[in-house]
Symmetry: C2
Subunit: 269 residues, 2 copies
């Protein structure tokens, strides 16, 4: 398949997925009785959608399609840029910060990046502030099922990658309970694309399931405080280590879109 | 003068300055009627003091004296590490996040770093969330007086350095109203040390003056909201760009001491 065709298909999928995820959330807000909707902000290279709801205190679903040149130093870390730093990238990124501290923060991203090479990357992970082993088991089990459908080796490999990636070395603590993470996926385009689509659908489904289960539960002020401190850790990870944030800021991304991952509020003790 | 002697003098000064600054703040809390004190936390390489007061909502004054080896990649950016990545460093760092949104956040740091070379660095800057041109003028004028006493060229040079340094490129906005910033200062040790001491005393004095002037003023919820969003920008700068934060995390610093600069809370819209 020609690269232009791949780009077209990937881009169309990301736009579709953005709609699916946003619809799911708006449905959830409706079930809760809030009727809060996403606000859409178009920009040069994409569309950012932000919701400030009653279930999701602050959530962002960003579609982007950026074409440009990497800064020279940054390009060194990116495959296929040795003789040419031009890139084409498209993807969808999601961060949900639910209001209820019993519901974990949720993150998802998939992207297709083209330099002289082209590959998919992405994943999802979940950051609870209160322990819920049943939820952890459910989440990982669903991910495993999705992965296994495509390749029996994926789950263990991408789970490990996620654990290593979403880690705060200065705190010596993981960001959350993990998930799956993959990058530079360029084995077989059709196979990879089908996996990426499935990961997206799995996220849309899981996010709704996890929130639905807990959105009516009551919480205490103490639990809210724990959530705010945990959100501080989330900020630390994203600004100190997250490659997506650095990629965005180094590739002419929209700061509002890149920093939509910031929680509505956070505390430091 | 031998390097050991220089290190001893610098270290003793930083400890003394930590005491002066903390005393000033405790006095201020007393004037306000709060009687809140710093809590001291000793660690392997220094002492961190944190106050959660009524004037200063969260403030940290950290003394540190770290001896170690720089990670190889990081050392490339540090003078005097070509054949030997060992370092000795000592300094004092201060960040104040006042409760009253009419009072700016204040930051100060001075340090003495020894590799195969040795130099002073430091500075101070002020981050208001509400405009106060009178205060800005007063602050810069006092800095200018201190600088001029040592060298007529310092103020313009270090003010510019500060403006360039405390800038958020992704937001295209300065962190605050500037101040002075200098690094790799190795002209004449005695002269440099005397300047560094004067900068420290100037900060201790200015911080008290600026807070005293406004600590009894009333504020609105709207002003508090503006402060919380501005604190979010403060977090972004410190985690995305601050060299001190990166230096600390790369030189075996104490994460609690390094991240004492984090505000007590912050918001993202």
């Amino acid at each position: 398949m020609k690269i232009k065709k791949k780009q077209k298909l990937a881009k169309e999928w990301f736009i579709k997925l953005q709609n699916i995820i946003c619809n799911n959330v708006e449905q959830l807000e409706k079930e809760y009785g809030s009727n809060k909707k996403f606000k859409k902000k178009k920009w040069k290279h994409g569309e950012l959608r932000i919701i400030k709801g009653e279930v999701i205190e602050k959530g962002g679903v960003a579609f982007s399609n950026v074409i440009g040149k990497f800064p020279k130093e940054f390009a060194k870390k990116i495959p296929g840029t040795k003789n040419n730093t031009n890139f084409w990238s498209s993807g969808v990124s999601v961060v949900f910060h639910p209001k209820n501290p019993k519901i974990p923060a949720m993150h998802f991203n998939t992207r297709f990046i083209c330099t002289q090479k082209n590959w998919f990357g992405g994943g999802m992970d979940v950051t609870p502030c209160l322990v819920d082993n049943k939820e952890k088991k459910y989440f990982h089990n669903e991910l495993k099922k999705t992965c296994n459908f495509h390749d029996k080796k994926y789950y263990a490999k991408y789970k490990k990658w996620c654990e290593e990636y979403f880690y705060l070395p200065h705190r010596e603590e993981p960001r959350g309970i993990g998930g799956i993470f993959f990058d530079y996926k360029m084995d077989n385009w059709e196979k990879d694309f089908s996996f990426v689509k499935d990961v997206g659908i799995t996220f849309a489904y899981l996010a709704k399931k996890i929130m639905e289960k807990k959105m009516f539960l009551k919480w205490t002020q103490k639990e809210k405080e724990i959530q705010l401190v945990k959100r501080g850790r989330y900020v630390e990870f994203n600004l100190l280590y997250d490659r997506g944030t650095k990629f965005g800021l180094n590739s002419g991304g929209n700061p509002d879109a890149i920093l939509m991952s910031m929680p509505p509020n956070a505390k430091w003790k």
